[in-house]
Symmetry: C2
Subunit: 358 residues, 2 copies
């Protein structure tokens, strides 16, 4: 029987609760589909700071590197905000992305009809929205040097460097084009080429790589206009290709269009080695440990792990169908809009419904 | 009789049409309120490239410096997109902002009840939205050095520098706090301090300046979360304080919440010297010269010029009242939603209605 190693990073806040649900479902679905999963739980983020003093212990990174795929719940808690930035949970996440070479972050945003009423947008504007943000994840201003803070005569100056090489743009552009070719065939590359040198290189390289994918329709959009167009007419987009910082901003904006960010999974991939799968939402410290969390984004991230990380398409589809069934049956966690005939459930009960629906 | 010099920058696209409307109204309203305006039209952007080869001729900058206030319509046209960035219309705008020391860009976003139906957001989400984006305008990654493109062994690397000094943050923070104090007393400062050194300095200085404005309630929000929250619940914001790049993105997103960016004015101010007043919308080359443009954002920018630039509050209010009346009477340009009993008008006819309503 095929067996895969999954590093399980529960992290902080609601992380452990939603991880428990995902693990149970993954065990059931793998048994059903004739493969086995070995789970290796490791600390990361605030949990790792508490255990080892560091947000990404060397053991955790080594375990992730040795795995077939990594499932991460969420990191971060207010009590670490006072630490210097390099010691905070977020820095562990950045080091993990970089350490695994995960340059491509995929964030699908799709309206679930049963939940469309939760959106702050008019139904006719969000109906049928199905877009994918492809965000460069280990370059740009997140990792650029020089950076720092310098005391000057009578003052202070702080700075970061937004930087891309042609190689970095080319590889993320290829991911974007390839994914667009498998969808509706349209790629919109986002930049600020009217102001930034780094965006001009981005645009030039995306144009150059376009020659390898002549069947994909390419357009360019300034980031400020993209932020507008996502509100005005989100249906116009198929795949959005972005740098690290622009993708951070636009993917969160796009996620909120659905009104249910407790439903959105993501995948982060490198050119080889394991991928990292995680919900788009955060660690929600305010509701942690109260059995209130919505585990669905985590379960859908587990489905992406099965499909993209392990090529277990049938098992992924089984999980996703279970989610559809439970929503159709009216089960809702507290973050989701309650409609006529809906039943409010906690995190654990939602997990049990999902298991029953498998 | 008091007399003011106004440099008039019609720029490109629909610029000349909406400038003509604003000028006629300014002449009428100044006569009514007992002061006179001397208009000095100067080329900028594409119009200046055509006339002189440069997007910001030295004469234009000198005329602006000598004026009491500057009214700019819009710049940019597709046929200049192939030029090197420094020679494009946009670079003229950046040089103008920088040359006049306009570090504070004010972008009010307010729902006009008669036009609320044009928003892609649900009425209950946008009802009563009244926020102000205060954007730093002559620092940050727009102007930071080093920047450029370097050929390396077998590749290219392009980069920009995002940089702020304590002095730059302090002065824009003071503008934000002062404006918040005159409104609902809440300032939300936007940054990415969990990742960027420059954002950490931003946050530290905003905290420090807060001591001068103890009556204002200060909060901090990461830029990705701000992009989300603007969609989720825009009413939560009073004043948003942002760096140059984050303000570019968030102010356009916020403007689009209204559904009518043809209605939104802006002001750019320095510590001394004339302010620059301009609509938030662009030069709309697709409808230029066809008498289709909406002149209202330009007229409201002229009202801001009167109020903020010349301290002519009564005259500003007269102009704004005329806009309200004409909208209440149902006159709409093509970009605005037509309701029951509305009359479609062109740019010039809208100008005539506004003049009649004065
Ligand atoms: C937590 C933070 C460092 C991270 C980012 O900015 O990438 C988060 O916002 C995300 O989008 O995954
Ligand atoms: C035209 C462009 C350079 C400009 C900017 O990025 O500042 C515009 O988008 C704006 O917001 O005024």
């Amino acid at each position: 029987m095929t067996s895969y190693r999954i590093t399980l990073l529960a992290g902080d806040g609601i992380g452990p609760e939603i991880t428990a649900v995902a693990r149970t479902l993954l065990e059931a679905v793998s048994a059903r589909h004739g493969f086995s999963l070995q789970f290796d739980p490791q600390p990361v983020g605030g949990a790792a700071i508490d255990a080892t003093g560091e947000p990404l212990p060397a053991n955790t990174l080594a375990a992730c590197r040795a795995a077939d795929a990594v499932l991460l719940a969420a990191i971060g808690a207010p009590r670490f905000d006072a630490l210097p930035r390099e010691q905070r949970p977020e820095s562990g996440l950045l080091a993990l992305r970089s350490g695994l070479g995960l340059f491509a972050n995929l964030r699908p945003v799709k309206i679930i009809p049963a939940l469309a009423a939760a959106s702050s947008l008019r139904p006719e504007v969000i109906e049928g929205v199905d877009l994918l943000v492809v965000r460069e994840l280990i370059g740009g201003i997140y990792f650029g040097t020089p950076k720092g803070r310098i005391e000057m005569d009578g003052g202070v100056r702080a700075f970061n460097t937004m930087v891309y090489t042609d190689h970095e743009v080319d590889r993320i552009a290829r991911v974007g084009f390839r994914l667009a070719a498998g969808r509706r065939g349209r790629l919109c590359s986002v930049d600020k080429a009217n102001v930034l040198d780094v965006s001009q290189l981005w645009r030039d390289r995306v144009e150059a790589i376009h020659a390898e994918f002549p069947a994909v329709e390419l357009s360019h959009m300034y980031v400020d206009n993209a932020a507008m167009q996502l509100v005005r007419e989100p249906r116009q987009f198929d795949v959005l290709l972005t740098s690290n910082l622009f993708g951070d901003i636009l993917s969160d904006e796009a996620a909120m269009l659905t009104g249910s960010i407790g439903m959105l999974p993501s995948a982060s991939l490198g050119s080889e080695g394991p991928g990292l799968f995680e919900p788009v939402h955060g660690s929600a410290p305010d509701i942690a440990g109260q059995d209130l969390a919505n585990p669905i984004a985590m379960v859908l991230s587990a489905a992406m792990l099965l499909r993209v990380g392990l090529q277990q398409e049938a098992a992924a589809a089984t999980l996703e169908t279970a989610v559809d069934r439970v929503l159709a049956a009216g089960y809702r966690t507290g973050d989701l809009l309650m409609g006529e005939g809906c039943t409010r459930v906690g995190c654990q009960a939602m997990g049990e419904q999902l298991l029953a629906a498998l």
